[in-house]
């Protein structure tokens, strides 16, 4: 297993380097620049800024310099506001992670429960209701859901303030973030649970007189969770990096908006940082998912 992990870590580093190189050269190909303003900035100012941030050098050299700095742990400063990138990203990530983990946790618990209920009560009324709401949950775009929550809960009912600087309320953004994965997990669980329940070993267990609860939780559910785990890995990485739409509607300083605003501003250092950050999260999440398989499904053998 340790050999397998080592191999995966080396592969992960290679992937991150490739992702960073592609991003670096691609972002330099997009027209526009970080110091473009509607009111023209004098050539002297542009020259000074280009010099300050190494943008006066050829792009390959810039990339090498950038990667050297990254290896030293220096993520540089944002070209847009001059603030150091690392504290900015980590504080944004702290917010996104808090929201993301809560959302995934809720989505997984409720999704697995609802999916199991739907599978066990197939074609009966609880199943129908669950199918209706999961279809709605997967079909509704997050900006519609988030706006709806804002208008109904904050404005109509007045239960939660739209803006409270001292006590920001994270309930609504967590709901907005969790609905889609919850609906998806419900559907996944239902399908794989149904699949598991029709397997021969379940029939054998039933014939041997295994208790129903044990049958469901130990035998069926454990197998049914494999696709859910596969989905959860990348989903966690995705949700942890925030959502531009939800952050914008609920005024949250998360990581999601950094992706979009950094590209709009051609904030090269920020684009690179968020991309590398996401790439690292993705490979780590995938690695953890693969390791989790081993525990859920002992048939999986890393040596082969």
């Amino acid at each position: 297993m340790s050999k397998y992990i080592l191999k995966r870590v080396i592969l992960a580093i290679v992937s991150i380097v490739i992702v960073s190189a592609i991003t670096f050269f691609a972002m330099n190909l997009i027209p526009g620049g970080p110091f473009n303003k509607e009111k023209a900035v004098s050539p002297q100012v542009i020259e000074e800024l280009n010099k300050r941030y190494n943008l006066d050098k050829p792009v390959p050299q810039q990339y090498v310099l950038y990667m050297q700095n990254i290896l030293k742990g220096d993520w540089g400063v944002s070209l847009n506001n001059g603030r150091p990138i690392w504290p900015d990203i980590t504080s944004r990530f702290a917010v996104s992670a808090k929201l993301g983990f809560s959302a995934v946790f809720i989505a997984t618990i409720i999704g697995v429960i609802l999916g199991s209920i739907a599978a066990l009560m197939r074609n009966r009324w609880p199943d129908r209701i669950i199918v209706f709401f999961t279809t709605l949950g997967t079909a509704m775009p997050s900006f519609v859901l988030a706006t709806l929550l804002l208008l109904v809960i904050c404005l109509q009912l007045g239960w939660i303030p739209v803006f409270d600087a001292d006590n920001p309320n994270y309930i609504l953004p967590i709901i907005a973030l969790s609905v889609y994965p919850m609906a998806y997990i419900t559907r996944l669980t239902k399908t794989s649970m149904l699949d598991a329940l029709n397997q021969d070993y379940i029939r054998t267990a039933k014939a041997k007189g295994v208790a129903r609860s044990k049958l469901i939780f130990v035998h069926a559910l454990r197998n049914a969770l494999i696709p859910v785990v596969t989905y959860l890995g990348p989903e966690i990485a995705y949700i942890l990096t925030g959502s531009m739409v939800v952050e914008s509607i609920f005024t949250i300083g998360g990581l999601g908006s950094a992706f979009v605003t950094s590209i709009n501003n051609r904030d090269y250092t920020m684009i690179m940082a968020v991309t590398i950050f996401l790439a690292i999260l993705m490979v780590v999440a995938n690695l953890l998912t693969d390791i989790a398989y081993k525990f859920i499904d002992p048939r999986i053998d890393f040596n082969n």
């Binding site: 504080s91 007045g158 005024t251 908006s257 709009n264």
Partner: protein, 572 residues
Amino acid sequence: MKKLVTLVLSGAMAFSLAGCGSSKKTSNANATKTNSDTSTLFINLASEPDKLDPALNTTIDGAALAVNSFVGLLTYGKDGKLKPALAKAMPTVSEDGKTYTVELKESKWSDGTELTAKDFVYSWNRAVNPKTASDYSYLFDVVARAANSTDANPVLDVTAEGDYKLVIKLNAPTPYFDQLLAFPVFMPVPQAAVEKANPNGDKPGAWAQEAGFVSNGAYTLTKWKHNESMTYEKNNNYYDAKNVSIKKLNFMLSADDTATYAAYKSGDLDFIDSVPNDELKNVLKSKELKTVDQLGTYYIGFNVNSDLFSGMTPEQATSFRKGVSDLIDRKYIVDTVGQTGQVPAGAFVPKGMHDGNGKVYKSNYFDATKTGSSNIEQAKKDFKAAGLEVKNGKDKSSFKVTKNGQEITIPYMINTNTGHQKVAECIQQDLAVAGIKVNIDTEEWNVFIQDRKDGKFTVAREGWVADYDDPINMLEIFSTKSGNNDVQLGKGNSTAAPDWKHYDELINKIYSSTDNAERAKLLHEAEKELMATYAAVPIYFYNDIYMQKSNVTGVYSTVFGNKYFMYAKKTK
């Protein structure tokens, strides 16, 4: 089962319909709902500001934060007029108009240290230093350079005589110099803090990147949750602290106008600087909606070197552009897209600007309220003068213009924005009357501004909001060397482009003029020359809207869009 699904669906529908119904009812009730904390003002201007260093700020919302947390020699009063701030009185100006002497009040930085004339000398020299890379450093171009000044290390001819007297030498009389003294880039910055945060000289704005930095204005930033909120608290060392009654300014950092409008309606905000376009018509009659004229012009820029004018003489190209201008229904655009009482523009220099000689600058080149369909005959004449073929249509309301027998297609470049899209569609319809096809090309903002500056367009939407109240700020942008001369006047070799040498000479003359009456004449002359090209076709003059709860008074805004919150009062 079917019954159950029907029940659930109808329940959901009833819920959503009930939501719609009550939304209308409560929206009016909510209009006056306000936060009960009367010592704090809850505000939204925009999203996270990029830079809070007044020398490095470039945005209008950043300038609004600057005027509330820093103060210079002069400031704007509620009447929109300049008044002394850190200066004891308005500056005394020498007879030749080139030496300004300012006596300073005794005042302190927010950390209690004395603020003296030396702070101004340091701050201004810092702003012009290329290492600071301040976008607005060009505003100091009117200030003379000292004998020891070099390009790499410029030194202004500004001296501190004692602690409280500042002597400023200018290159030429500058009628708008008083205004510059109230501009953020002319505000003082605390030398010790600036230098401590930037020992290597490569992080000039580092001192003001987090809450807690020293300032000298009515408020200091005490809490900054990036991308969420900012809290400013009253600075007791502010020179006019006794007149500041609001203790805290709490800013919601959001550019999502649905969210900010919801926060305003729910009473979580007292002040919002924008209203969602779809909601505008609902609030137009509200007393909480305030409209302030801005010194700025929305216009259409023709690239004078574009292929659209190939084979034409400069005069013909001008007539073509004038024909297009004739057909654009400005009043319709203002009424249906702008909606907030913008004024259709018949000149480039905005209405209400002053001429630098004590008078309001007045100019009008056509009746902008009557362009469009009522102007068809004039447009036909202009298109004919442009050497184009004009054929009458079936009725008087349409005709067909062709160039060498070919249909004319104009690519019109805008940036992604609903408002600009709507204006473009209006123009598309207006020109369809003459059989001219308008293709709307939408570009992402950063690409758009780059293409405009590089002249990679045929026709583009344009806009310019003045930094100070003087027509030179509107007209200078069309001089050949200006980086804002998007319409490429004086650049390129097209035979259809007008000769632009005289205009450049005029701008230089205005800058070096020593007689304000003469200067005002030159300004008119320059605008006339610009308008005669129809390269910049004015559409309307901007205005600025904001909403403020009825229990809040005393907030005011200038023609540059700066909002002053320090003299606000809030009742229950």
